[in-house]
Symmetry: C2
Subunit: 547 residues, 2 copies
């Protein structure tokens, strides 16, 4: 089209940056002028990507944005990975923002459900993390990104340290489409003195020194003290019935006490079974403190991380043969790459769930809470774009002739009852009703039953990948659902048949002695034990210390 | 384990770099000493990632490596995305390398099949590109990476230019696990003068000035001259039967003349249908020259690219509102991020195939050729980790209650006969026999039939996502398979039933008049026309010029 202008975004960017000139020195924002700068570079109606990852939060920028003048800034469309801070929702209550696309809303899930109900927040969709970033390259391209780093220099070069996580991805999506990238850094250092450059200064427009270090949540720390015999029995069943049986070499663990128990019995029960060196060698995993004993015992060849974990920095830095680290010695994490690895390069995902229906659909969304998905849906499905074979993947092979292929192990591990006494197995997920109430086009299901290959409870293992029909799937689940309503409906004759056909294995079928399921099997029984295993390198956050 | 050494890789790296000291100035390799440096930093048995992407090739490094002394370097395990140069296989014939993991072997596919058969090359697996990179973070972690860039400075900062593609991903996997990263750069420039920094120097160990610019293949250029009425009819059927019907807003096109025809009839036929602004707005796509008329006509809001394309650099640089570009003005491509976008953020993938069986499995692997997969399997499946809804995705919804969800459109477009006169539709894919002959654990199928939602031929459209059984799937395919053996087996009564039930649409059902399928419908009929549409900004490579 003759006369078409093809660089509107670039021109707009130049004008916005120019409007902030009086408040900046080069790329550095004067500390007392952050609000004015945000009001200059952000325009009403903008799509604003605000960094709130799984763990790290650009909280100086979000707090300051929440203090901006709604007369100047309004109708913002916020893209926030993890809505976990109060000011994320204050933005909406104060009339600055109206639309929200997100991935997770853990701590704010109740308030969010209310704000959605009263129309204050209009939700585009609830995504997984990487799905939200994917859309930043397609139909949700940010106009402005508000990010965080550990350190920056005056050229905008960034050091993200062990918590690199999602920062490079959001920066790339914004910087390379003429959006404006604003970064809070814990410190500003002279050029050439950053421990390493994680993001080149070319991608960064403005930097401000944060008023305090960015907020970080220790999401992946599980205190072994809270692991009891039920989780240990589950761990034993999983180890024999899944890991050993299918020879799982590469894997991802979700976060939960059952999977933490598995990590902690590798050096004890796993070693007794002679599995060291055979299984669990290559991990895609945040630096779980409960993996320390297995690493120290020589089980673990490599760990690639989505993000970091509070307290694990010194330990990781001293184990570079295992972890991915930079030239400066500290961890390199990267959510998108770790997701890629977890999707296309591992044998198994195993994670916990709070609620599962009789088709094995599961969700952590419960009544009155609009939480979200995190990364479980990405890890918890069989990627049909995989083409290489491993023994575990081939062990679940199906189809014939051209259709012959393997399958990723997607394992759900759950106790039959939650600690609240409510049954885990239900006829209908709460998520169905929550989705309906919130006007969502489909129910917010975390992992679909047809993607689940195995379910482990303290009663046994259901091999769902062998279930030819929904009736068999239900029967196999019922057989390991204990005294929940679903389990009480199990027909003893049918259970025998399912065991014979290999759809279900009970502890005796797996040669697991439940009487041995005891805390003595845990390689570490406390946070203090983990510190000892780490030779003092693990430095647990204050809330996990009792000494 | 007391006494365990945890930094073996770091120590080895230091020693190897030290062994090359006499041949380097800082990070710069002396041009006449590249072979000596490679022999010093690579050790026998190493895993070596050699950059051969879809398009760009680190050919100075691969040619030099092929000239190394097999007495010093042997048993290398090569990780090569695209085995497209003779010296990639010379490495094996000359005794330098023994094992190969790859994604694609287009131009070398015949020779590779022979070398596999005689045992010279031991293939780990044939992957997709991103699957191979995923394994570099898990169980195929490189010891050394040999990469290429457009320019570098003495600190190792790299400018990759429009062809960023896979370089940052391979560099990250290697640099952050104490591997050695060696880069060939077309030019070495003084610090501070790179047009932009694509990869920070911290990640790069050694740089050498290439003897000539890195090799680049124009893989995504299709000359409109070669598009005939059959492809135009297919394009019309696809536009009405798929794009318009499902309101496809975001999409990826494979490479082929049929999809090029679709791109070229958007400004003509698409415009007549009143579809401009409604469909085809957001693309994940290399810069296809045949998309120029649609861009110039205002159809295209955004394009995010896997890689660059020869001749398109100036055009892309002048269209920054559409393409992702850097502060220097040139294209930013990134295969991993574009794959992420194509997986989680788009409505549809459509691609061509050479051969399809009656279950709709397809493959480009044919007798005597071990080619590979590229990115089609990643784009060509429904990602079960997606959680947001779009109208097109919801239009293919299935399941009930918790199981309710949408589906990505995966469309295969094929002529019933290949230009060689062989039928496209066959009882058994050649890939099954090729896989068997090569000892592959599963047949090298490109896209599985159960992932395909639609098939388009010049006879009509099969809506496979509506086919409840394999019998229906076969019948729907037969109805559009023309006079191939499969098509001749179609029962006319059954075709009527399939049309009534919406499993098949013939041209009249879609109100497509085949007599209008004419080259006059193409917005550009030659490379010269594309240059004119681009206002001279598109600069076609020599082999596409006839003036």
């Amino acid at each position: 089209m003759s006369g078409t202008v093809w660089d509107k975004r670039r021109t707009a960017k130049r004008q916005r940056i120019a409007a902030a000139t009086e408040h900046v020195d080069g790329k550095l924002i004067r500390p007392d002028a952050l609000r004015q700068v945000l009001e200059a570079v952000i325009h009403p109606g903008d799509r604003v990507a605000l960094e709130g990852d799984n763990q790290k939060q650009a909280d100086y920028l979000s707090r300051t944005l929440a203090g901006c003048d709604p007369g100047r800034l309004h109708d913002l469309h916020m893209l926030i990975g993890s809505v976990s801070r109060a000011e994320h929702l204050d933005l909406f209550e104060q009339g600055l923002a109206s639309r929200l696309d997100l991935a997770y809303a853990g701590p704010q899930s109740v308030r969010m459900a209310q704000l959605v109900a009263d129309g204050t927040v209009s939700v585009g969709a609830i995504h997984t993390y990487v799905e939200l970033y994917a859309r930043m390259l397609v139909d949700l391209r940010p106009d402005v990104a508000l990010l965080c780093a550990s350190a920056a220099d005056q050229h905008g070069n960034l050091y993200t340290g062990p918590n690199t996580e999602d920062t490079p991805t959001i920066a790339e999506a914004t910087a390379f489409h003429d959006g404006i990238v604003v970064v809070q850094a814990d410190e500003i250092v002279p050029a050439g003195t950053l421990p390493r450059v994680d993001i080149p200064g070319d991608w960064i427009d403005l930097v401000v020194r944060a008023d305090r270090p960015f907020f970080l949540e220790p999401l992946f720390t599980r205190d072994p003290k809270a692991i009891g015999p039920v989780q240990i029995l589950q761990a034993m069943l999983a180890l024999r019935g899944v890991y050993e049986r299918h020879q799982v070499v590469s894997l991802n663990h979700g976060v939960g006490f059952s999977t933490a128990a598995i990590e902690l019995i590798l050096p004890t029960y796993g070693e007794q079974l002679g599995l060291k060196g055979q299984i669990c060698r290559n991990w895609t995993l945040n630096p779980h403190p409960t993996l320390i004993p297995a690493i120290e015992s020589g089980w673990v060849e490599s760990v690639h991380c989505f993000g970091g974990e509070s307290g694990m920095n010194r330990y990781v830095a001293e184990r570079p043969d295992v972890f991915f680290t930079g030239a400066d010695g500290s961890l390199r994490s990267n959510r998108v790459l770790c997701q890629l690895a977890g999707q296309y390069a591992i044998d198994m995902f195993i994670g916990s769930t709070l609620q599962m229906d009789a088709r094995a659909n599961s969700s952590t969304v419960t009544e009155g809470r609009l939480s979200g998905f995190g990364g479980a849906p990405n890890m918890g499905h069989d990627p049909h774009g995989r083409r290489h074979a491993t023994p575990a993947w081939l062990d679940l092979q199906h189809g014939d002739a051209a259709d012959l292929r393997g399958r990723k192990l997607v394992v759900q591990i759950a106790e039959t009852f939650q600690s609240s006494g409510t049954p885990t197995f239900v006829e209908s997920l709460d998520a169905v009703q929550v989705g309906r109430d919130a006007g969502m086009p489909i129910p917010p299901v975390m992992i679909y039953g047809d993607d689940v290959s195995h379910v482990v409870t303290e009663e046994g293992v259901a091999y769902l990948y062998k279930a030819p029909s929904l009736v068999d799937r239900r029967a196999a689940l019922a057989a390991i659902a204990g005294v929940t309503p679903l389990g009480r409906g199990a027909d003893p004759g049918s259970v025998e048949r399912l065991r014979r056909d290999g759809l279900v294995a009970l502890p005796q079928d797996l040669k697991v002695d439940p009487s041995l399921a005891d805390r003595s099997l845990l390689a570490a029984r406390s946070i203090g034990d983990l510190v000892a295993w780490s030779r003092g390198l693990y430095e647990p956050p204050a809330q996990f210390r009792n000494w």
